[in-house]
């Protein structure tokens, strides 16, 4: 643009092309809305480029190597060599495929793609800076806007990511060589997933966690299975310690931690990986321009249609309240697109499933037994150990269980927790049961294929009803 500023008008402007933003854009395009999707980094956002996808790719790759290496009992003798650069480039290929897939899908649905960093410039206006290519910046005038800017890793003071020794999850997913040893600060799902990956590649991992156990939010018996396995893989755990500082010492570094009693400990290691949580990205948006403020948790309050306090401005994904999960963002994106198109859509899901891709996997949805009691139900619980599952035994991995929580009077399924192989997939059935208002009887009465892990779900339901076959009933 030579002089002046010809603004571009659009019905729906979406800031952020992660699993929330791009899904909203495609759905909006399907519904005939004139939609503009703005992304400052890479199509697909964190999930596709630096999170969900690359981490699962590496988890699979390392599993393959580890399985092959430890299957002598099955009669498999392998001499596994890991080429980390090749693994990383294979992972990159998967990511590229998906990223360009997102671009193509958007274009095919009539979505206008804009590369740049957006901020609000007043009601109904965004200012998008193009970061050097072509025009400097442009104004986009919107009728509706969705904030889908996602989250970033929390930095702890003293452990800023700008050093080559301090790794964020993005760095860990992009290694060109495996460090000999690694201190992992944070025993949440990101720390645990990547610890497992590195341990399986021979790294000597020590997990330092401030709380007294890993994976906050999950029940003790669930965590125990994962922690034991992690210990078997050679991961050391230090609970009740928080990282206070680090310094270089020769070729390596030393990380110092402190516990509640004031004692400090030192760990010599190659690098330190910090994964202590994520915070929503809202500070780059100039929300003041539209009089919007985050709440005390740093999120934007929304109603059942995803709308914020400002008419026509919606928030989805990690910037909105609720668990920071990609599938929750996607569902919100779909609903908001439908709402903008005038459909009577709403965020009325009964439960959001969650998965942790550790070894073994964890999959949960809905209420735990304790939560069900708190909500006024009289819970009945059914459990089925994986050690009693024929299929589990044939995979060589039989740690874990399936637990279903239901309401005693009505039989409605209220929640489920699964630890074990394929827990992330198995949990879907229970999610459907909760949304449908299905009862234990419905699951128990449905024939599940034999021999599969899903039978464990059926038997857990039968167990709650008192007639499971392959395990003792209460």
């Amino acid at each position: 643009m030579v002089v002046g500023d010809v603004s571009t008008g659009t019905e729906l402007a979406i800031i952020g092309a992660g699993p929330g933003g791009y899904v909203a854009a495609i759905r909006a395009g399907q519904l005939g809305i004139d939609v503009t999707l703005i992304e400052k980094d890479a199509w697909g956002g964190t999930c596709l480029n630096y999170g969900c996808i690359p981490s699962k790719a590496l988890i699979t790759a390392t599993d393959v190597g580890h399985e092959a290496d430890t299957a002598t009992e099955m009669g498999i003798h392998a001499d596994v060599k890991v080429d980390v650069e090749q693994m990383t480039s294979w992972k990159d290929g998967v990511v590229d495929q998906l990223t360009s897939g997102v671009e193509k899908l958007c274009k095919a649905n009539g979505v206008n793609l804009v590369e740049g960093t957006a901020e609000f410039a007043g009601n109904g206006k965004l200012r998008v800076a193009h970061g050097g290519q072509g025009q400097g910046s442009e104004t986009i005038e919107y009728e509706n806007a969705i904030i889908a800017t996602g989250s970033r890793a929390i930095q702890i003071p003293g452990f800023e990511y700008d050093s080559e020794y301090v790794l964020s999850s993005r760095d860990v997913l992009d290694l060109d060589s495996i460090p000999e040893s690694l201190v992992v600060v944070g025993g949440g799902y990101i720390g645990m997933e990547l610890s497992t990956v590195l341990a399986k590649m021979g790294c000597d991992v020590t997990v330092v966690e401030m709380l007294d156990d890993i994976l906050p939010g999950y029940e003790d018996d669930v965590k125990r299975v994962v922690r034991k396995r992690a210990e078997d893989l050679g991961i050391d755990f230090r609970f009740g310690e928080s990282a206070s500082e680090w310094e270089e010492r020769g070729d390596d570094i030393v990380v110092t931690t402190e516990n509640a009693d004031g004692e400090s400990f030192e760990y010599a290691t190659d690098k330190v990986f910090v994964a202590v949580g994520r915070q929503p990205v809202l500070d780059t948006l100039n929300l003041d321009a539209i009089d919007l403020e985050p709440n005390d948790d740093g999120r934007l309050e929304t109603d059942h249609t995803g709308e914020t306090d400002v008419d026509g401005v919606y928030a989805i994904g990690d910037v909105a309240p609720g668990p920071m999960l990609a599938h929750k963002a996607s569902k919100e994106g779909q609903v908001v697109a439908e709402v903008v198109a005038g459909k009577p859509s709403a965020l009325d899901y009964q439960a959001v499933p969650a998965a942790v891709f550790t070894d073994p996997e964890i999959g949960t949805v809905g209420l735990t037994e304790a939560e069900a009691e708190e909500e006024g139900f009289t819970p009945v619980v059914g459990k089925f150990p994986m050690s009693a599952s024929g299929r589990a035994l044939t995979t060589g991995h039989s740690d874990g269980f399936v637990r279903i929580v239901a309401d005693e009077d009505s039989g409605f399924v209220l929640g489920a927790q699964i630890v074990g192989p394929e827990a992330s997939e198995l949990i879907a059935e229970l999610g459907l049961a909760i949304e449908m208002g299905a009862t234990l009887e419905d699951i128990a009465a449905t024939i599940h294929t034999h021999p599969t892990l899903s039978e464990a779900v059926m038997e857990a339901a039968e167990n709650a009803l008192g007639h499971a076959i392959h395990t003792l009933n209460r």
């Binding site: 002046g4 500023d5 010809v6 603004s7 005038e141």
Partner: protein, 325 residues
């Protein structure tokens, strides 16, 4: 087959289809060739049609227009672009002394099938000279047609009609809404006739006549007034020759009228329309014609731009005035 295009994309599409259909159609102007036009109105045309038909000119408006006059007199169909309508003034002599007069000067032997295109109007935060809205200079000059589209669909159709018209057309493109919204525009070559207004919204209480970038705020005002005043909105599309029939018919139905234009009030086309209505339909008139226009000042710099341009609230107030008489 059709696509959702913005107004400036429709300019490009129209120009492209006209050039593809007729080798005599030539585009010329500053930065229109390799650069694709400062607003991308001619993007890709140079690659497709080459140096001979898409010409990058020096910075010389008089030369651009004069050359086009010469080309047209010799049978070509030039489409010269002046980068901003405010820069037409250096070429004003070419327009009023030659472009408008060739037919009469040659007693009909020569006509000038040329279209002088320029982005016009305010609302883009530009410095001096870049926000002019002086369509009245050109309607006042006999021998010129003046066209101002307000939607992407109309833009393509009117541009193609203008290019095919044997007489010179001044085609003013409201740049404020170049990219404001998209509309379905058919892929094929089609024409929207010149000299025909379009009734954008029907109503019975008052007729509002407008064009260009002012059509959208006028429609917005009409929506806001729903339930209070039943507003009819007529988009003139061609300012010269004006569609008197449609204007008069609308006025005789409602009995009250307003004109919305961003050009300054004095000497602006609102006066012309008021006189026309009075001439044809005095006995139908129930109130004076309300002029909702830009002010009689030079176009302000951008801090005050929003006060100058009529917007929905000012238009609504004006319509209430008309109804209250």
């Amino acid at each position: 087959m059709s696509e959702n295009l913005t107004l400036v994309q429709a300019v490009r599409d129209g120009l492209h289809d006209a050039m593809a259909a007729d080798d005599d159609v030539i585009a010329l102007g500053e930065d229109i060739g390799k650069n694709g036009g400062v607003f991308r109105a001619t993007q890709g045309l140079h690659e497709e049609f080459g140096d001979d038909r898409v010409i990058d000119t020096p910075l010389a408006e008089s030369g651009i227009i004069g050359t086009a006059v010469g080309m047209a007199a010799y049978g070509l169909k030039p489409v010269p672009e002046i980068q901003f309508s405010g820069f037409m003034y250096p070429g004003f002599d070419q327009i009023v002394s030659h472009m408008s007069r060739m037919r009469t000067r040659s007693r009909g032997r020569f006509t000038l099938p040329m279209v002088l295109r320029a982005p016009y109007g305010g609302g883009i935060r530009a410095p001096e000279h870049h926000s002019e809205s002086k369509e009245a200079f050109y309607t006042h000059e006999a021998g010129l047609k003046v066209v101002v589209p307000s939607t992407p669909y109309d833009t393509k159709g009117l541009l193609i009609s203008a290019i095919r018209d044997p007489d010179p057309v001044v085609f003013l493109e409201p740049k404020k809404i170049y990219r404001s919204f998209r509309e379905e525009v058919p892929d094929e070559d089609y024409e929207v006739p010149l000299g025909e207004a379009s009734i954008r919204r029907e109503g019975n209480d008052v007729s509002v006549f407008t064009w260009g970038a002012m059509t959208r705020p006028t429609l917005e005002a009409a929506e806001n007034l729903e339930g209070e005043i039943d507003v009819e909105v007529v988009d003139l599309r061609t300012l010269d020759p004006m569609d008197e029939e449609t204007i008069v018919e609308s006025f005789e139905k409602t009995g009250r009228a307003a004109v919305v234009h961003e050009a300054p009030q004095t000497g602006g086309l609102a006066g012309e329309i008021a006189a026309t209505l009075q001439e044809h339909s005095l006995l139908y008139q129930e109130a004076p014609v309300e002029r909702i226009t830009g002010f009689d000042t030079p176009f302000p710099l951008y801090a005050l731009e929003d006060f100058y341009l009529p917007e929905a609230e000012r238009i609504s107030d004006g319509l209430r005035e008309v109804m209250a008489f």
